[in-house]
């Protein structure tokens, strides 16, 4: 039975987008204009904090190209393992190198890893998800969608670690192979989010309207699907950033992440492991900055998603 749209026929003349007469005004009880205004204020609060943190981290990275308190590569055995002091605010590491300098320079690599890994996963995973969803809608396309999703599962089954080891072996361990491996491992996540978002959008009436006015599939994908799933993809990106940065840190644990002497927060964290009971601040500073970066990108992600679709989440098709 092909049920005609039985969505409510109640009056939905939306008096005033900002008016709070929630249940009265709307066709479906989901609209919460009041909530979105309130959450609107909290949303851009989290965005401001998020953006602030991200700017701090990116700033650190950029400044490090121009100036750093000390030269990251010079080794000063005399100044080994000092804790915080005026000359070395964050103290020094086993080679007497200034930890603050290393944090600044390390920001570059960590940002690079996060951005590239997420970039790979986003640019490959999202289109796969969208294409797979479009196929799922065609009667003959079911199988292709199933195949793509099963391939997605297999990729999920492949540990990022194994990819990292193989890439490291083939191209010699370093930031590059680690980033690519972590990025590839994050593809299934994006594919899944993009597919479920696209399926939702394709079910909407405005897509039916677009098809009725002769828009071709690729146009619908770009004009209608992408903007409407951007919110979900952004959130996935902010979470993926956190996971990628930590994965790189984990890989350096196995000697596969960024190699000496390039500084990266992950490696600093891993190498400080030996001194945790004697010089805890060696692990403290990279840990804090990783937390700040991850927090920043997550809050920015949430803020962008809220600002990006103030009404969308209430009117989910």
């Amino acid at each position: 039975m092909n049920p005609t749209p039985t969505s409510a026929q109640s009056p939905s003349d939306h008096v005033d987008p900002v008016a709070l007469d929630a249940t009265d005004a709307t066709a479906s009880a989901k609209i919460r204009p009041g909530r979105s205004r309130r959450s609107g204020r909290r949303a851009n609060a989290s965005m401001i904090i998020g953006a602030g943190l991200v700017v701090l981290i990116v700033g650190l990275a950029l400044i490090s190209f121009v100036w750093t308190p000390y030269d990251p590569t010079t080794i000063d055995p005399a100044a080994r393992l000092q804790s915080g002091s005026l000359t070395h605010p964050f103290g020094t590491d086993t080679f007497g190198r200034d930890t603050l300098t290393w944090v600044m320079v390390g920001a570059r690599i960590t940002l690079l890893v996060g951005v590239v890994a997420v970039g790979i996963a986003l640019l490959i995973g999202t289109p796969i998800g969208i294409i797979s969803a479009f196929f799922a809608k065609q009667p003959w396309g079911m199988w292709i969608d199933a195949v793509i999703m099963r391939a997605n599962d297999i990729l999920l089954a492949f540990p990022a670690l194994l990819l990292a080891i193989i890439f490291a072996a083939v191209y010699s361990p370093g930031t590059g192979p680690a980033m690519v491996a972590v990025g590839i491992a994050a593809i299934p996540g994006f594919a899944r989010v993009a597919r479920s978002g696209t399926l939702q959008v394709l079910g909407s009436e405005y897509v039916r309207a677009a098809r009725a006015s002769n828009r071709r599939i690729p146009a619908i994908a770009v004009v209608h699907v992408l903007p409407n799933i951007a919110g979900m993809v952004i959130v996935q990106a902010s979470v993926a950033f956190a996971i990628s940065v930590l994965a790189e840190a984990g890989l350096s644990f196995l000697g596969l992440g960024t190699q000496a002497p390039t500084p990266s927060w992950g490696r600093m964290l891993q190498e400080s492991q030996q001194y945790l009971s004697t010089h805890p601040e060696l692990a403290l500073w990279p840990g804090v900055f990783i937390a700040l970066a991850v927090l920043g990108f997550n809050l920015l992600g949430d803020g962008l998603r809220d600002r990006f679709d103030p009404k969308m989440e209430a009117r989910g098709a």
Binding site: A29, L156, F158, P159, V239, A242, L269, A283, V294
Partner: protein
């Protein structure tokens, strides 16, 4: 029901086949081989060549692949030419260690995340809710190996409550087994709980806006009772799927924790096998991993319709 089972079985078989080809190809990319590794720094070219012959590395790839596949079909992952031992028992043993570790970690993270996430959703307006979601944001940023080391220093070295490493099988001593399980499980669970809390919070928030919660309140339930009586089961579906994905990624993700706590898990086995270029072992392990992930997906696909009748008897 039967067609569904057959359908899934075919997908299983196909996925495993594709995975086996992919892993075999990847392995052949790896520079260096088991013979070189075995003979180390005082190897001579002739010794390497003869050992390669002994290991059968000189046979063409296709034959090696078919030989390996043949063995696998009979459940025998072959003998590792590097260690000279049967691979299957090693895999079975290490998979169980990791399975226990990871299932316990996910269970703990669910026990932490569901109440915390629900509470954060209920109290999202006031500072409690905000602090919980802030903690969960920061929680995501702590790498599990850092958490592990800190836990060891506090609970094992200073307080001495738990041993700092080692694995003891349950039959050898339940007490020892549990004591050695606590710290690794907690270090794994912390990060996963932080991630899961965020998903639970947004799932509960969505559920709270549903009409049937308002109906439940109209029936005479207070807001929180309505949520627990009706909301949580509905919020369970997204949580199950996320927990499934986390379980899958942790199978190998736990390797670092396995190394810090010296647990003979499948992750460490994989890293060791790759380091020794013990390709037959690596291929065996990855096949088991792929099988496990497919089983996890199947269990999730079985659980979801049980929770949601709508999916059970289809649109």
């Amino acid at each position: 029901m039967l067609t569904y089972a057959i359908n899934r079985a075919i997908q299983f078989a196909l996925s495993l086949l594709v995975a086996s080809v992919v892993i075999f190809a990847l392995m052949s990319l790896l520079p260096g081989n088991a013979a070189q590794v075995a003979l180390g720094t005082n190897a001579t070219p002739e010794a390497v060549a003869s050992l390669e012959a002994q290991y059968g590395l000189d046979r063409p790839p296709l034959i090696r692949y078919l030989d390996w596949m043949g063995g696998m079909l009979t459940g025998d992952f072959g003998t590792s030419y590097v260690t000279g031992a049967e691979i299957t028992p090693v895999i079975v043993d290490s998979v169980q260690v990791t399975a226990i570790l990871v299932i316990a970690a996910i269970a703990v993270s669910i026990l932490i995340a569901v109440p915390l996430g629900t509470f954060a959703a209920l109290e999202q307006r006031n500072w409690i809710g905000v602090t919980i979601s802030a903690i969960s944001q920061v929680g995501i940023a702590i790498p599990n190996f850092l958490a592990a080391i800190i836990l060891v220093i506090i609970f094992s070295l200073t307080l001495g409550w738990f041993p700092s490493q080692g694995w003891m099988a349950p039959i050898e001593g339940l007490g020892g087994f549990l004591l050695r399980l606590v710290l690794p499980v907690v270090s794994l669970a912390l990060v996963q709980a932080a991630v899961l809390t965020r998903y639970v919070r947004s799932a509960v928030l969505d559920v709270m806006r549903e009409d049937y919660i308002r109906t439940a309140r109209a029936k005479g339930l207070t807001k929180t009772k309505a949520l627990f009586a009706h909301g949580l089961r509905n919020a369970a579906i997204p949580v199950i799927t996320v927990a499934g994905v986390q379980l899958a990624t942790l199978l190998v993700g736990a390797v670092i924790i396995e190394q810090i706590f010296v647990l003979p898990g499948i992750g460490s086995e994989l890293v060791r096998a790759v380091a020794n270029r013990d390709l037959v072992a690596v291929q065996g392990i990855v096949m088991v991993l792929v099988l496990l992930v497919l089983i996890i997906n199947l269990i999730v696909d079985i659980l979801v319709p049980i929770v949601d009748p709508r999916i059970r008897n289809a649109a």
